[in-house]
């Protein structure tokens, strides 16, 4: 084999190797496909076959409890006292039906009184706490409590209360007013409570 032919063979083999190397480098391909997506809503609260309507605790009882709490506190000084930690005792709690956050008829009058009082004190800030009874999960009741507080806030705003005056929070079933396992007790826990921030 002549030297020229041999060199041509070498070049050919070299080119083949280069071609092989180049062909061996392919671009990266990445894909992701969603096979399925699903959403499952949370469980409904425990159903109750029969709900006994009970009268929520009256304002007198509420006031008595708060007065009792205050009686253990030290006597106020003679100088003008700072604003009270609680809003005026006349601010009524508002009660709800089981698993509901709609404002009831009896709650409307209470909220109207609350709104009138708060409008007379435009600098008074207010926190509306939403509470629930012990039935259902904690997570569910947190949401329900928030909706109750939101419903009360909306009602107060519709009555002309300034948006900046009101904040809401929810304690779900974590801070019950009453700890007995009765419908009367549960009713007293399904409430919104009003306090100063």
């Amino acid at each position: 084999m002549s030297l020229k032919i041999r060199r041509q063979c070498d070049m050919l083999i070299l080119w083949l190797i280069v071609l092989t190397i180049v062909s061996g480098c392919g671009g990266r391909r990445i894909t992701t496909a969603v096979e399925d997506q699903a959403f499952r809503p949370g469980p409904s609260p425990v159903p109750v076959d029969e709900v006994t309507k009970v009268v929520p605790p009256t304002r007198v009882e509420e006031s008595e409890v708060r007065l009792a709490e205050r009686s253990s506190a030290p006597e106020p000084p003679a100088i003008p006292a700072p604003p009270p930690a609680e809003p005026p005792a006349e601010l009524s709690d508002v009660y709800f039906d089981f698993d509901q956050y709609a404002i009831r008829g009896d709650a409307r009058s209470a909220l109207k009184r609350n709104a009138d009082l708060l409008k007379s004190q435009p600098n008074q800030k207010l926190v509306i706490e939403g509470h629930c009874d012990e039935r259902g999960t904690s997570a569910y009741n947190l949401v329900l409590g928030e909706r109750r507080a939101q419903a009360a806030k909306q009602y107060l705003q519709d009555l002309g209360l300034a948006l900046s005056q009101v904040q809401i929070t929810s304690y779900g079933k974590e801070r019950p007013f009453c700890t007995e396992h009765s419908e009367a007790c549960w009713q007293s826990n399904r409430r919104t409570h009003f306090r100063q921030p």
């Binding site: 070498d10 083999i13 070299l14 190797i17 092989t20 190397i21 062909s23 061996g24 480098c25 392919g26 671009g27 990266r28 391909r29 990445i30 894909t31 992701t32 496909a33 969603v34 096979e35 399925d36 997506q37 699903a38 959403f39 499952r40 809503p41 949370g42 469980p43 999960t137 997570a139 569910y140 947190l142 949401v143």
Partner: protein
């Protein structure tokens, strides 16, 4: 001819598998600056348990060598499920999500758990190239604490690349990109409403 012979020899050296296990260092978060996609609300997300339900749970995959024999790929300590959970946490953190420790002091708004249905890599060496393929299938579930609702998503990921010189880093990069792409799909297809994860409506 010596040059050609030398190149051929170099090409073929190391092309026989000896059954060794190569650990893969998986790391889905790119080192460079990346645009963050924070949820609109400061939602706390916890990464819960990820379960390995693959039909074959040994390692991550194999490399079939040019001259026969195989070697294996695995993650350190052979816990792919834990690795994927860590990678998801890293990915979401890099995207600006507030990832908290599950069971810690902070209560998570959303808990993500998952199942690894498939996670497999294959490197097949041929004359002049090695074909890298990887396939993943993750079933991810997000449970919202506030209303106990659940969002489920099954993500099929796939990746491939051909290289001349095989390096485990090439394989790591492909797996990393496939997992990051799947996690990205989870982020893209969901939204946060009132601290709850929801599927985006089409």
């Amino acid at each position: 001819m010596r040059l050609i012979g030398g190149m051929g020899l170099v090409t073929l050296v190391g092309c026989a598998g000896t059954g060794e296990v190569t650990p893969l260092r998986l790391h889905v978060v790119p080192t460079g600056a990346e645009k963050t996609v924070k949820p609109a609300e400061p939602t706390k997300v916890a990464i819960g348990e990820f379960e390995d339900v693959r039909s074959v749970q040994t390692g991550l995959g194999v490399r079939t060598h040019l001259w026969g024999g195989v070697s294996y790929f695995d993650v350190p300590e052979s816990k792919p499920a834990e690795t994927v959970a860590h990678l998801l946490a890293d990915y979401l953190t890099a995207k600006g999500w507030n990832v908290v420790k599950q069971g810690g002091i902070e209560r998570a708004d959303v808990v993500l758990t998952g199942k690894i249905l498939e996670l497999f890599v294959h490197a097949k060496s041929r004359v002049g190239s090695t074909a890298i393929t990887t396939k993943t299938k993750l079933a991810i579930q997000a449970k919202n604490s506030s209303d106990d609702s659940i969002v489920r998503m099954t993500l099929n990921g796939a990746g491939s690349e051909q290289v001349f010189w095989f390096d485990p880093e090439d394989l790591e990069e492909v797996v990393n990109e496939v997992l990051a792409d799947s996690f990205g799909k989870l982020v893209q297809d969901t939204t946060v409403v009132n601290r709850m994860l929801r599927l985006k409506t089409p």
